[in-house]
Symmetry: C2
Subunit: 436 residues, 2 copies
């Protein structure tokens, strides 16, 4: 605890007030006074110190895997969803905070701001989208607390408990957790090297009559795979024919070629709900993302955003806008792109040397590679890696249902970490003698 | 649009690139080029300029009222939920952003941070709670994107479509919207001058067997009313007897006396789920709030937060923590308290002179007064006020069901605005000749 004097100064109150408060807390058992030493929080109220859990066996469900990712206590983070700090060093958010300019539409201090989100940032995003050939105006772009918030809004707007949603298989596991929580039945659509398997998609549509298919077209998480234009075209024809929405989550758009094949570009937001975020390419600590769709649908999402969270943070949205307008974000993206391409090349070399294969290709442009292994038990591997302080993401975690798990075990590899010698050494030892 | 030269510099690309992009957008019909003048966004893609809607009749539903509040185009904002900018001038968030310090636990740039929220801020909140006699440790405090996010999490965790929830009547209307969206049946518990009517509460519990009662104990929105200890005690006895949770939303806690009677203080979080926020007393543009409850329940909420939004913004949570640690927040609260008490006294005088009455008392300590009128049609009043640029919040908006609407019309008055002469003059004219 602060000393009485320090606390009095910190909270701008008299020392008597602090002394009284401390005494009250001692009386309540919250504090204890140690003679000559000061006041201490009693044991039972102390926050448990973060412990290395090493319970990757539990990580079989979404919440646990999310927790593993958020807990920062693995030395080597091969299974991580994010790149290392050093990749983001182009930004110093402390400095960026100075960019919270007085844009001229609303003052910064107080209010809830615009329910759609900070309007100059929506304008900047509209420009980014036009570069990708997605012609959405600022008035149809809704800012969210990240892509996950956008997906949550879409799911809550479209789906009722018991409904079926199609998802990529393998696919983005935080989405699975979200949908399962809302009692949505997940049906996986097999992922191929050129995108979703459209024959499988058609079968599943016919069988389940789903309202929506959630997919990632580019730098797909977890496979790193992409999409071709003919596959995109066929997906949209099916969506049209069966009256189904397609949610396209494009988290890596800002580091990918603007003319990459996107569903939203072909369809121009008739059936496609398009989601973006600054979490993967700028900072996850800001929680800024967006969603755009046809006007009626995105208006309904805005109403839902208001009803559930009132609005998003005008303050951080100004920070992001300031980073774009100052040119810092674009400069940062150039460096990030180079880091990704160099690390991917290095990772592919190393993993090939270890005998791993890349059924989804080896140049997704994002952070992920899907590395397939033979004759290795994923769970045993992950457990032993965890004991060695290495966080791995076994492939089976990314399948929406157990039956769809493929015959070959695999790992989702974060390219930024794959050349860590502790990982490489561990893998060499494990492959030489895989204790089961 | 920016000139080609300006855009090239802004996005750090060559002028050729910009010229090409502009040409492409012209070709797509998004831009038009005016000779000698530059490039302009074509009409059909321009954001509609915000228009004064004057459709207060529509504001009968929650979403519309929320929208009215968020749209900044009324000159006089008597019905607003927030105080004016000037009350928040103690803060300059642009400067506050400098306070985003390198607290020593995690670096600021990149990651998702702790799923519970920025840990030093949870520690500061634990201290605020202890001042209120609520003994919750930092490890049981979950940070949220404001109080509404906390209520949304609680509702999603506890309730299924078709369930009944008890709410204050009149009560906090954004909560009603949230629950109605999720197909929860709302049942109002009559609000008295000393808190919820416990006889009515018992009847409703017996009839509907609800899992939860959402209430605001202090500076109640919309009545400004409070709670007495015997009423608090009886509510908790009923909650115990019938196995019901009570959600206590304490948005104004930081400007109220720490020893005010609170459900969470009596119950110590056995049955009470306690929600706080910095939106009313610091800034709504940060979106920082919190929830605490018994350990098992708050852990479930943390899992739900992860599954739905991954986490909250580490960045803004550092800003709030910096404002507390620098002493600025405490100094600001002293000024805010004084503004509230002076404005309330002034508002009460004026409204009494107009013949209005205060069935819930006249000193709630927050921003609201419930001013009751006789022989006045709320809807007519609100419509005419709206035409005169005055935003009013008619009492009937705050009732969860129509049957419960009281016999006397009323207004929720924001004490900060009540002495605006445009409002006072309008009311004098209206009362003299209430056109129907």
């Amino acid at each position: 605890m602060h000393s009485i004097r320090a606390a009095a100064s910190l909270y701008s109150v008299s020392k008597n007030t602090v002394a009284e408060a401390y005494e009250r807390l001692v009386a309540m058992g919250y504090l204890e006074s140690r003679r000559g030493s000061g006041f201490y929080v009693t044991k039972r109220y102390q926050a448990p110190s973060p412990q290395r859990s090493h319970q990757l066996a539990q990580a079989i469900d979404t919440v646990s895997l999310l927790r593993e990712q958020l807990v920062q206590d693995y030395a080597v983070r091969i299974g991580d969803g994010r790149p290392p700090e050093t990749w983001m060093e182009g930004f110093n958010l402390r400095k960026a905070a100075r960019l919270v300019k007085d844009y001229d539409d609303v003052s910064i201090n107080n209010g809830y701001g615009n329910p759609w989100g900070f309007s100059p940032l929506r304008d900047r995003i509209a420009h980014l989208l036009h570069d990708r050939g997605v012609l959405s105006g600022p008035s149809d772009i809704l800012l969210t607390h990240g892509a996950n918030h956008a997906m949550d809004l879409v799911a809550r707007q479209l789906l009722q408990p018991g409904d079926v949603a199609l998802v990529d298989s393998p696919g983005y596991y935080p989405l699975f957790g979200k949908l399962k929580f809302s009692h949505i039945k997940l049906v996986g659509v097999r992922r191929m090297i050129d995108g979703p398997d459209t024959d499988d998609l058609e079968d599943k549509i016919k069988t389940y009559k789903p309202k929506v298919f959630f997919t990632q077209s580019l730098a797909h998480n977890p496979t790193g795979g992409g999409l071709t234009l003919p596959v995109a075209h066929r997906i949209l024809k099916l969506a049209d024919a069966y009256g189904m929405y397609v949610v396209e989550d494009d988290a890596f758009a800002d580091v990918l070629a603007p003319n990459s094949p996107r569903l939203a570009m072909l369809d121009q937001l008739e059936r496609v709900i398009y989601i973006g975020t600054f979490s993967k390419t700028l900072s996850a600590s800001l929680r800024v993302g967006y969603v755009t769709a046809n006007r009626a649908f995105v208006r309904a999402l805005c109403d839902l955003k208001m009803v559930t969270l009132v609005t998003t943070s005008d303050f951080v949205e100004r920070v992001v806008c300031g980073l774009i307008d100052s040119g810092q974000y674009m400069r940062h993206l150039r460096v990030l792109r180079q880091n990704i391409s160099e690390s991917t090349a290095k990772a592919v070399n190393i993993l090939k040397r270890l005998g791993l294969e890349f059924p989804y290709g080896a140049s997704g442009g994002g952070y992920y590679l899907w590395a397939q292994m033979r004759n290795i038990d994923e769970a045993v591997l992950a457990k032993q890696a965890s004991d060695a302080g290495i966080f791995l993401a076994p492939g089976s975690l990314f399948f929406p249902d157990r039956e769809a798990t493929p015959s070959y075990p695999a790992l989702r590899i974060n390219v930024a970490y794959a050349s860590d010698t502790r990982f490489v050494d561990f893998m060499e030892r494990f492959i030489a003698a895989p204790m089961k």
